[in-house]
């Protein structure tokens, strides 16, 4: 920065600008940028469109009426300069130089008479791109100005003394159960299930009912297990359940006297195991 540093030494003078955290001490004169600052300078641009916008703004030019020859000259100078100081130049900068040169040459061609529509202007596409880019450049700046969480606003987060986590039991539907049963049957040896499946559920329910009753009462009178209100079928179901339980040695029938009341009790488990 030595030769071009016009003012004071770096560490004493306040920086003119901070570019990506680096202080730019010297003032670039027009397009002449001190070589050391060049890299920093280049990083300040987001690409050829950004550089072009800078050149246009710098000279207070109307974007809709760019003096293409002049802008092209400056742009090419700039690019040439960057190449001279052997900065690695993104290919896009060179592409833009070519585009500018092409527009310039077309501008030099004599205009056909009676064409004033802007679409005919060789600069139209470039202007459209510049405008479009500028809109988003500004949108980006506007976005950065929005109050941002963690930078400008902070969410309230107070604490809580205790969290009582009660995990609610999962919901269950009869369909789950049915599908589970279907599933397990599919896996099981299917023919083995034939006989059991014929048993009406009500007999099994009654079996459980009777056994449950015998858990609390040692003796249950036979007749109390037959509810006449259930009708013929109910009686049959109860009776079948008892026979089934008897067959499985789960209950015993007890009749102390002939024609006396019949009692049922849970089977005394054999001690022969």
């Amino acid at each position: 920065m030595n030769e071009t540093t016009e003012t004071k030494a770096e560490d004493t003078s306040p920086p003119i600008a901070m570019i990506h955290g680096q202080a730019l001490i010297t003032l670039p004169k027009d397009l002449y940028i001190p070589p050391d600052a060049m890299e920093v300078f280049l990083e300040a641009f987001e690409g050829p469109l950004d550089l072009l916008l800078y050149l246009i703004k710098k000279q207070n030019l109307d974007i809709l009426d760019i003096p293409i020859a002049e802008v092209t000259r400056q742009y090419v100078d700039y690019v040439e300069f960057m190449k001279e100081v052997s900065l690695e130049l993104a290919a896009e900068y060179l592409v833009m130089a070519a585009i500018l040169a092409e527009i310039k040459s077309r501008m030099l061609l004599p205009k056909p008479a009676a064409t004033d529509s802007s679409e005919e202007d060789p600069r139209a596409e470039l202007i459209r791109r510049l405008q479009d880019y500028e809109r988003f450049k500004k949108a980006a700046a506007a976005l950065d100005q929005l109050p941002r969480q963690g930078r400008d606003t902070f969410p309230v987060q107070t604490s809580i003394q205790e969290i009582v986590l009660t995990q609610p039991p999962p919901p269950i539907h009869v369909k789950d159960l049915v599908l589970a049963f279907a599933n397990v049957l599919k896996r099981a040896a299917l023919n083995a299930s034939h006989s059991i499946q014929r048993e009406p559920l009500s007999v099994q329910e009654r079996m459980t009912h009777i056994l449950a009753m015998l858990q609390t009462k040692e003796f249950v009178e036979f007749t109390s297990l037959v509810n006449e209100k259930e009708g013929r079928l109910g009686v049959v179901v109860s009776f079948l359940a008892m026979l089934e339980l008897l067959k499985d040695h789960l209950i015993e029938f007890i009749q102390t006297t002939a024609f006396g009341p019949i009692h049922i009790k849970a089977a005394t488990l054999s001690n022969t195991n």
């Binding site: 902070f154 969410p155 309230v156 987060q157 107070t158 604490s159 809580i160 003394q161 205790e162 969290i163 009582v164 986590l165 009660t166 995990q167 609610p168 039991p169 999962p170 919901p171 269950i172 539907h173 009869v174 369909k175 789950d176 159960l177 049915v178 599908l179 589970a180 049963f181 279907a182 599933n183 397990v184 049957l185 599919k186 896996r187 099981a188 299917l190 023919n191 299930s193 034939h194 059991i196 499946q197 014929r198 009406p200 559920l201 009500s202 099994q204 329910e205 079996m207 459980t208 056994l211 449950a212 015998l214 858990q215 499985d248 040695h249 789960l250 849970a266 488990l269 054999s270 195991n273």
Partner: protein
């Protein structure tokens, strides 16, 4: 930037709100630039004001070992805890199958369930089913080891909105449900390897009662 007394209170309150951890009086002082730091007495006064102000709210300002912290009152825990409540899990396939077998084939022993399912039942499953009061021990089978016989309970019927066990779908209905399910699965393009779409169902149907 000079700070008005009102702003001072706002800043201290907001700091306690957003910090996420207890703040000491010193830390609160350090929010302000050198030379503008309120005295610790000033801060204490503000803290007392805040404590009183929260009295009516669901918050309280507590002094803990590492500083002052705003907390939701303990009495609100039952509601607030719901914020962290985990989604209810699904019952495992093993649990559902065990329950289904007990429901359809009761009274049944553990060994018998295992026999049909082809795998052993883990104790937590039986425990869970007992805790939910869906199953009960209704007796012992008279075979060596005297295994417990399980059956379903009234709670079980209530849970499934049934009055009697025989309201449980029959195997034919199961087949229909299963087919619907299979169609649904196809629609959702879930490649369910465990439920072959049709064939095993056929076998089941032929063996159903009605």
């Amino acid at each position: 930037m000079s700070v008005s007394p009102e702003q001072l209170q706002q800043i201290i309150e907001a700091a306690l709100m957003v910090a996420g951890s207890p703040l000491t009086i010193r830390q609160l002082q350090h929010l302000f630039a050198e030379g503008e730091q309120p005295s610790s007495a000033d801060i204490k006064t503000i803290l007392v004001t805040l404590m009183e102000r929260y009295h009516q709210s669901g918050l309280e300002l507590r002094e803990l070992a590492s500083g002052y912290q705003l907390q939701a009152k303990a009495e609100l825990s039952p509601w607030l805890s719901k914020l962290w409540e985990e989604k209810p899990q699904r019952y495992s396939k093993a649990l559902l199958e065990t329950l289904a077998l007990i429901a359809y084939r009761q009274p049944i022993t553990r060994a018998e369930i295992e026999d049909v399912r082809g795998v052993t039942i883990s104790s937590p499953i039986i425990k869970t089913l007992m805790e939910r009061e869906w199953i009960q021990v209704v007796g012992q089978r008279d075979v060596p080891g005297k295994p417990s016989l399980y059956g379903t309970t009234k709670t079980f019927l209530d849970t499934f909105n049934l009055t009697h066990l025989d309201e449980l779908p029959t195997l034919a209905e199961i087949h229909d449900l299963d087919r619907q399910e299979a169609q649904l699965q196809v629609q959702l393009e879930f490649a369910n390897t465990e439920i072959p779409a049709n064939s095993p169902d056929e076998e089941i149907t032929t063996s159903t009662h009605e």
